[in-house]
């Protein structure tokens, strides 16, 4: 399962988001995007030392500052799992046909590799 699919499936579900500075945000996921920018509602913010707390009605978290998200009580519907699997297969197929153009078609010619004698 792709991390981003899981996150979007967790909309309206409770979760705990930990930031790189150690602060945590406990709330319900409102929305997220491909950068893992997140909006939460009914949030309890906890300082890194765990000593101070804040209650926020809603907050926005920039994806690049996130360490991890603990998803609580998530029930992923089977249909979603299937659609994600199909999506992944399609993506794999697409990348394979893109690569089919031959070696070195991406990122320029690879001189070192081609210069080596085949053993």
């Amino acid at each position: 399962m792709l991390p981003l699919s899981l996150l979007s499936a967790a909309q309206n579900k409770p979760m705990l988001v930990e930031l790189k500075n150690g602060e945590t945000f406990n709330g319900h996921l409102v929305n997220c995007d491909n950068f893992m920018n997140i909006t939460l509602r009914e949030v309890y913010q906890t300082s890194a030392d765990g000593d101070r707390f804040w209650k926020l009605k809603e907050c926005y978290i920039r994806g690049s500052t996130v360490t991890c998200a603990q998803i609580k009580y998530l029930r992923v519907p089977d249909t979603l799992l299937d659609s994600v699997k199909e999506e992944q297969a399609r993506a794999r197929e697409a990348s394979r046909s893109a690569r089919g153009a031959g070696p070195g078609s991406r990122g320029g010619p690879c001189l070192y590799f081609h210069a080596l004698p085949r053993i």
């Binding site: 320029g108 070192y112 590799f113 210069a115």
Partner: protein, 96 residues
């Protein structure tokens, strides 16, 4: 891209990877990708008494960004060829 190719030619060789958390891991290089993420098989942590955390781990994926050094088997790296390839690539780049 060149270094990626160097690593690809070293698959199935034993290498030692030193991480930026001072962990040193020896293992057989199984694969590398464009970010220089590394897959190692039959791994052994260097100072096992101090780092028992990986006791039950036999193969692992190391994120390229946390690698400090990779010790390569010298006999399997053709440095002359690498120098030539580097020059060629530099020349190509300046032409562009």
């Amino acid at each position: 891209m060149l270094i990626f190719s160097v690593f690809k030619t070293l698959t199935d060789q034993r290498v030692t990877v030193e991480l930026k958390n001072d962990l040193s891991i020896t293992g057989v290089l199984k694969s590398v990708d464009q970010f220089l993420n590394i897959r190692l098989d039959s791994i052994k942590v260097l100072d096992e008494a101090r780092h028992p955390h990986m006791m039950a781990v036999k193969n692992c994926f190391i994120r390229g960004s946390v690698v400090r050094y990779v010790q390569l088997p010298a006999e399997h790296v053709d440095t002359q060829l690498l120098e030539d390839a580097t020059r060629r690539e530099a020349a190509n780049q300046s032409k562009r």
